[in-house]
């Protein structure tokens, strides 16, 4: 479904106006610096469920927002 993101500055806008930004979380038990770099560059948490992510409103206010979204059904809990 076309996702509608409630931008706090511009109101509800279609996802095509935004650029996705993942918040990379490198696991703490990964201690080798090289392995941490690889993890940060390539590995994804890819959760199925509620997750916090960043979106850049490229075709709107050009500000970053933080979105809380359930990736299972695209339900949006909060945007700020």
């Amino acid at each position: 479904m076309s996702l509608i993101i409630p931008c706090p500055h511009c109101g509800a806008r279609p996802v095509q106006e935004f650029v996705y930004g993942e918040i990379p979380v490198v696991p703490d038990d990964l201690t080798d610096p090289d392995a941490r770099d690889v993890d940060r560059a390539f590995m994804r948490a890819n959760p199925e469920g509620p997750t916090v992510e960043r979106w850049f409103h490229a075709y709107g206010c050009r500000r970053w927002l933080t979105l809380e979204r359930d990736t299972h059904n695209d339900e949006i809990f909060s945007a700020e």
Binding site: S2, Y20, A41, M43, R44, N46, E48, T71
Partner: protein, 402 residues
């Protein structure tokens, strides 16, 4: 092969055993193909395929059925060409009509940079065994007279590449043919059996826990689509996979014959005609990572608009239905196959939007890996550890969907 030679598909269902030599998680094309090739090529038949829902119900039944090998890097061209050739023999081999039809695939370029890319593609393909020709607008008009070479005045067609071996096949029939072929030789396929955890002894995987009880296995293969990150986590692996929805739609019946598959690099859509005469059109993945199967109107509107720009006859048709699949996108737009670093646990994933065409070769190579314990040369470049070794296989321009 045709409909007059058909007989009923014979699928025999069993109760799960306590242990198997090989357990394959995921009853889609790649899982079934791995089981089929283990049974036919290596005589390993003590194999179980576990499927959460029903076989071929995930992306194997949701794709747009294009078979091609016109990739942009040598490793991929070689691998997909193998798959194209196996597809051409699959009807003869399985005795099943999979409705394989050679159509020829046209990739259109609308910019000077695009023309250069298609010239390079033709060269790389020819050098590594896949037949691809650079074509001028005049030749494109001969292959597909329906294409508007002015691109609605905005997207003029400056050239393109033509891949004569491009084909389509009926996706459900491919799944059934492989399932039947595997079952005939003694492979067990268990539908509605979800894997809830992996059984481990130290760093070694020794089986799977399912909602119907534990099953021990000499080797566990992940052929999961969509939820592979969860299965990887059970094995203690972090995977470079992000799951995105991909939508597609078909129109009502187009009365004339539209033979080739047409794709555009700039407009990001591809169109072909199904055996029923419907025009099947797909486009790029959705921008948000999601596991949701919901389709939307925005996609229909934008994709239909782009398709009509190059194929004006489409505007007389009506959209019949649309659907969504979830794609495992890897960072370099190439698949991930092989050993994982966890003993007895093999993986075939990252099939993003290019999985259907790879079903025969992917299964064949995975089967060889499991049977011999050695990674076949054809898939060695696609190993999971390529990211840590700085050997990524970037081929975004050949995915056709981004």
């Amino acid at each position: 092969m045709n409909e007059f030679m058909e007989r009923q598909v014979k699928l025999t269902w069993h109760e799960p055993k306590a242990s198997y030599d090989v357990v394959i998680v995921g009853g889609g094309g790649h899982g079934l193909s791995t089981a089929y090739h283990l049974a036919t090529r290596h005589g390993i038949t003590n194999v179980a395929v576990l499927e959460r829902k029903y076989i071929g119900g995930g992306n194997s039944g949701r794709n747009t059925t294009v078979i091609r090998a016109n990739y942009g890097i040598p490793e991929a061209v070689r691998f997909y060409q193998r798959s194209v050739e196996l597809y051409q023999r699959l009807e003869e081999e399985t005795g099943r009509w999979i409705m394989h039809e050679r159509k020829g695939l046209l990739w259109l370029a609308h910019t000077e940079a695009g023309v250069r890319a298609e010239r390079a593609r033709a060269r790389v393909n020819t050098a590594f065994g896949a037949e691809t020709l650079f074509v001028t607008p005049g030749e494109i008009k001969e292959i597909a007279p329906e294409v508007d070479l002015t691109g609605g005045g905005q997207w003029p067609v400056l050239g393109g590449s033509y891949h004569p071996q491009g084909a389509t096949a009926r996706h459900d029939r491919v799944n059934w043919a492989l399932a039947e072929g595997a079952m005939e030789r003694g492979v067990h396929i268990h539908q509605r059996t979800a894997v809830t955890d992996l059984l481990k002894e130290g760093d070694r995987v020794t089986g799977v826990m399912t909602d119907k009880g534990p099953i021990h296995a000499g080797a566990v293969v992940s052929a999961v689509g969509g939820h592979v990150t969860a299965l990887g986590r059970m094995a203690g692996l972090r995977l470079p996979i992000r799951t995105h929805p991909l939508q597609a739609f078909v129109t009502n019946h187009y009365a004339l014959d539209f033979h080739p598959i047409v794709a555009s690099m700039s407009l990001l859509f591809y169109a072909s005609q199904t055996a029923r005469g419907e025009m099947l059109i797909g486009a790029e993945i959705d921008p948000q990572p999601s596991y949701s199967y919901r389709s939307g109107h925005h996609f229909l509107q934008s994709c239909a608009f782009r398709a009509m720009t190059l194929l004006p006859f489409l505007r007389r048709l009506r959209i019949l239905r649309q659907w969504t699949g979830v794609c495992d996108m890897s960072p370099d737009y190439s698949p991930i196959m092989g050993k994982t670093g966890v003993e007895n646990f093999y993986i075939t994933t990252g099939w993003g939007t290019w999985g259907f065409k790879a079903i025969p070769a992917g299964g064949e190579q995975m089967a060889e890996l499991i049977a011999t314990g050695e990674t076949p040369e054809l898939i060695a470049p696609f190993a999971l550890d390529r990211f840590a070794r700085d050997r990524t296989l970037a081929d975004r321009g050949s995915a056709g969907t981004h």
